[in-house]
Structures are given as C-alpha cells and as structure tokens.
C-alpha cells in the first residue's frame, strides 16, 4: 500500500512513546485475556457438566452428609440409570500448599456415571482389587511427578486425630472433554470406611446420578427430593451444571468481579491509546494542514489517524496475546488446583484480537475526527 510508508514513518517518529504505548497496550491486553481465561475457567465447570447428570446433596448444605442407604432408594426411581456416592477426603500431601481435590468414590458405579473420565481397564482392575489404591488425574500426577506404582502418603485431620493415610497409585485417569478436570484424586470407599470413626460410617457426602435421558432431569430431581422429604436428611437435587455454578458462587460473584476488572482494563486501554493519538495529532497539526492543502481529503486524514492507532493496537495486541499464550500455561500449572484448569481457547484469542481492533479504532476516532475537521487556514497560522 503506497501510504504505508507515511503511516509507519509517523508511527516511528517518537520511538520511546511508541514503545511505551505498545507496551502498555500489550500488558493491558494480556491482563484482559488472562481475566477472560480465568472467567472461562470458572464457567467451564458448568459448560462441561453432563446434561444427563444430577447431583444430590443434603438440603442443609454440601458439608452435611446423608445416609448411604439413600442409594438403593435413588436407584429405584424411574429414569435413574446409575448412581454413585462420593465423599470429601481433605488430606494434605506434604504441605498444605499442595492442595488438590480428593474424593472417596464408589468403585462399583464411578466409571458408569463419570463416563468422560477414562481409566485403562487394567489400571482400574488393580485399583478395585487394592483397598489402598488410588486413581489420580493426569495433570495431578504430572504436577507431583507421580507414576503408577508410587506410594502416596496423605495426612488427614478431618476424620479423628491427625494421621497419615498411605495410598498406592494404581491408575491415572484422563478426561475426554477438552479443558475437563484432570486434577482429582480418587480413593477407595472401603479403605476410607474402615478408618473413619463410627459416627461417619454409613454416611455419604453426595450422589451423582446418571439419567436415561436429560429430558428426565426435572422429573427425577423432584422425585428424589420428594422421596426424602420430611426426613432427617432432606435432599436438594439439581443438575450438575447448576451444582457447579453454585459451587463457584461460594467464592463470591467471581464473574462480576472479573467482568468489572476487565472493563476497567479495557477503558484504561482506550484512554491510554486515545491520549497518545491525541498528543501525536496535536503535535502534527501543521503537517496535517499541509497534507490537506496539497490535496489530501478529510477522509484521508481520518484514515491516516485510524490506521496509526490501529497499527499500535495490533502491535500491542499481538504482543499481549503472545504473552498470554506463553504465560497462561505456566501460571495455570502453578495454581496447584486452586482454580479450574486455565484454557486459552481460540475464542479467547479471537476476543483479544476483536478488543485490540475495537480499541484501535475507537481510540483513533476522536483525534481523527478533530484532525478531519481541522481548517487548513487556521492550522497554518499556528505553525
């Protein structure tokens, strides 16, 4: 394009200012993309939840348990294909910083319900036959360098006096869904049952139900809750996505918080770039007047200003997105399971490009319009 030389020459006339503007744009866009990824991580649990799965918890709250005998009654409800019960374990591996979710599972039904979590048959067979056996998610095993056959000690103080529980890593599960959770630690129900105080025995934390059809969700949910209505342990049954959303909300309205911070970043970006363009145009009033005098139309002048701000935005944007591509996996790996997996999707990258283009155009628009309206005679008088 024959005008590109003029556009780039103007851009590079103040190199330090260009560097600082592109740098602030890059950092801001990186932050914006990072926040979008974190926001996505919080909502991904909901998106990835099985449409044909229900979660049954104690109506009082998630930390309250229910009798194990509920399982038989739940399975009798029409539309329930499988039901598996889980419990929270809450052990500590070496240091409290090494948090990861640990679930006591029901080996008879877990695989039939959590179908996207795949364990090789031979590993599963070993796990079922090993009371101290555990299955770890692929990411979790990678995080601590565990291999099948390793002995894993966890300290636990939730069930009686603090003691160390010893486990054997019998298998590693993977998740068929992109971005799906691979950070859980499953241990055998029987081993747990043997080692907890009597008061805990005969209780389960929650059930996950696999339905014949997602269309049955409302009816089955109501049927489960009606079955246990007016009992000492009333239930609250909801779809897995609603359960995940509610779980995320326990941390506060993360989505709103992230959206607010993202908006602040976005408008700061707009102001920084807009200010740079405004200063740059003000410094070049005389030159723009000369361009107009020699035949460049108002639209050309607007085009030049928009092209400059767009180039700044795209430069900064691409650097910011490059930073995001490099940094998000590293940050995600160091979050130690505190957040759902951070996944930089094509959509998030696309959103970053759209934001960069939008900010580029929006920030150049006001200075561009003022340059467009510049009267040559007045501007030349100021030179």
């Amino acid at each position: 394009m024959k005008f590109s030389r003029l556009i780039f020459a103007n851009l590079f006339r103040k190199k330090i200012r260009l560097l600082l503007t592109v740098g602030s744009f890059a950092i801001a866009l990186f932050l914006f993309t990072f926040l979008a990824v974190v926001r996505g991580a919080f909502s991904r649990g909901t998106e990835l939840a099985g449409a044909d799965r229900l979660v049954v918890i104690n109506r009082v709250g998630l930390i309250n348990t229910m009798p194990l005998s509920y399982g038989d009654k739940i399975r009798q409800i029409k539309g329930v294909k499988f039901a598996t019960h889980n419990n929270w374990f809450g052990g500590v591996y070496q240091d409290e910083k090494n948090f990861f979710p640990q679930f006591v599972i029901d080996p008879d039904n877990q695989r039939q319900v959590m179908t996207e979590m795949r364990v090789p048959d031979d590993q599963w067979k070993n796990f079922v036959g090993d009371r101290q056996g555990v299955i770890a998610g692929r990411n979790l095993a990678k995080r601590f360098g565990w291999k099948v056959g390793d002995r894993i000690p966890l300290q636990n103080a939730l069930y009686g006096p603090t003691k160390t529980w010893q486990f054997n890593l019998d298998g590693i599960y993977t998740n068929d869904k992109e971005g799906g959770d691979e950070s859980q630690f499953w241990l055998q129900w029987d081993y747990f049952y043997e080692n907890v105080p009597d008061v805990i025995k005969g209780q389960a934390g929650w059930w996950v139900l696999k339905l014949d059809s997602p269309d049955d969700a409302v009816r089955v949910g109501r049927a489960v809750d009606n079955t246990f209505a007016n009992s000492s342990y009333e239930t609250k049954t909801e779809t897995e996505s609603a359960f995940q959303a509610g779980f995320a909300k326990q941390l506060g309205n993360i989505q709103l918080l992230i959206t607010t911070i993202g908006s602040v970043v976005f408008f700061t970006l707009l102001l920084v770039t807009g200010n740079t363009m405004a200063i740059s145009i003000r410094e070049r009033t005389g030159e723009l007047a000369v361009l107009k005098a020699i035949g460049y139309s108002d639209r050309f002048v607007l085009f030049f200003v928009l092209a400059e701000s767009l180039v700044i935005a795209l430069f900064g944007g691409l650097i910011g997105l490059g930073l995001a591509i490099l940094a998000i996996p590293v940050v995600g790996a160091n979050l130690n399971g505190l957040l759902p997996p951070l996944l930089l999707s094509v959509t998030a990258l696309g959103l970053g490009v759209v934001v960069a283009v939008f900010v580029g155009i929006a920030s150049g628009l006001l200075p561009g319009i003022s340059a467009m309206r510049l009267r040559v005679v007045d501007a030349l008088r100021r030179v």
Binding site: K2, L6, A9, F12, V290, I294, S297, V383
Partner: protein, 247 residues
Amino acid sequence: MIRVDGQGNGKSLIQVRGLSKTYRRGGEEIQVLQRLNLDLDKGDFVGFMGPSGSGKTTLLNLLGGLDVPTQGSITVDGDEITHMSGSKLTQWRARHVGFIFQMYNLIPVLTAFQNVELPLLLTKLSKAERRKHVETALSVVGLSNRMDHYPRQLSGGQEQRVTIARAIVSDPTFLLCDEPTGDLDRKSADEIMELIEELVAKHGKTVLMVTHDAMVAARAHTTLHLDKGVLVEASKLEQGVVAGGVA
C-alpha cells in the same frame, strides 16, 4: 496581462471579481478584503506586498481554495471555485495549485524524495512513473543528490527547494508562494528567487507570491500593493496593469 480593474477579456487564467472577505471577531466584523478584481494570464509572476494585516495571506488562501470568500468569485482556467464543495475543492487544489510556504512545512520523518512524492500518491501513477516525476522535480530544483536526505539534514534553502519540488511535481496550474524567502538569509533567498524566476521563464509557470521584502517583490513581473484589504497601486506600471484597481 495582469489587470486589477475587473476589465479583463474573460480569457484570463485566473479571474477574480468583487472578492471580499470579512471575519467576525467577537461582535466585530473585520473586512479583510474589499471587492478585489484581478486578472492573471498563464506565465504571469505577480508579487503582493503590504503591511501586516493587509490581507495578503487571506488573498492567497482564497486563490488557493483554502478559504472561501464572503462575496465575489474566483475562476481558474474556467472553473469557478468559490461554489465548490469542500471535497471538490480539495481535489481541485491537488490538480491546480502548488503551495510554497515560508516555513517549508516538510514532513520531518520523510526523505526529500518521499516529501516530493506526497502529491503524486493521490494520483493513479505507477511507482515507476512517480519516481520519474519526483526525480525530474528534484533535478529542476538542483537537489538530485539530496533525494534520500531528511529535512533535518538539509539547509533552510535546500528545504525550501524541496518544498518547491513538491509544489511543481504534479505540474499544477499555478504556484502560490507565501513569503518563500521569509526564513532565509539573503544568499539563499536569492537562490530561491532565481529558481522561481526560472520556473516562470523556462517552464511557463504562473506564480503568485506574497512577500514583505521589496527586493524579493522586485523580482516579480508586477508588484501589487494591498492596504487594508484594497489593491491600491502597482509598483511596476507595466503595460496592461491598472493601478488602484478597485471599483
């Protein structure tokens, strides 16, 4: 033939009739130009002199289509420009007017070549054709060996030469020079005036020049004096020039 009495034969390259310009400043109306008439033919070289505020630059701006008159008309080569829309006027300027400013007004981040090429970027000329035109223009002003120099690497006189090259590169109908030597020492000013004279004599350019400098004005074919917005006398009473040419 240069006339200021409005009695031209209607075939002049530039015809100005009853041109007035009034500015409003606060509640006050300031009449800068009052019913001026002017006829210029191709190849004329006219200098406008006058004290500050007499309306010289305003006249130049009106003739160059940078400003619009309050009254009157300007016709250039058959085109009446006073009623053209802003965008039409911009296109007209690109085709017909070459501007030479006192402060040169080159783009500092472009080389001499690139500065001169600017008006041609608006045309459909190919890159090779543009290069040929720019090289010719720079050779006319004697700067063939400075093509790749930036304005900061040139002297004031050389910068003004680049401005002249930029003004002539698209072969405009006429050149408007606003104090072309105002920022130069005497030697450089002489060189610039020689160049402008050469453009008139050898290349048949029509030049309208505003200056404060009587010696510079004396190089024009005719000098017209503006005072309080009125053309009051012609310094060179050559044949065909009518003094005090306002109605």
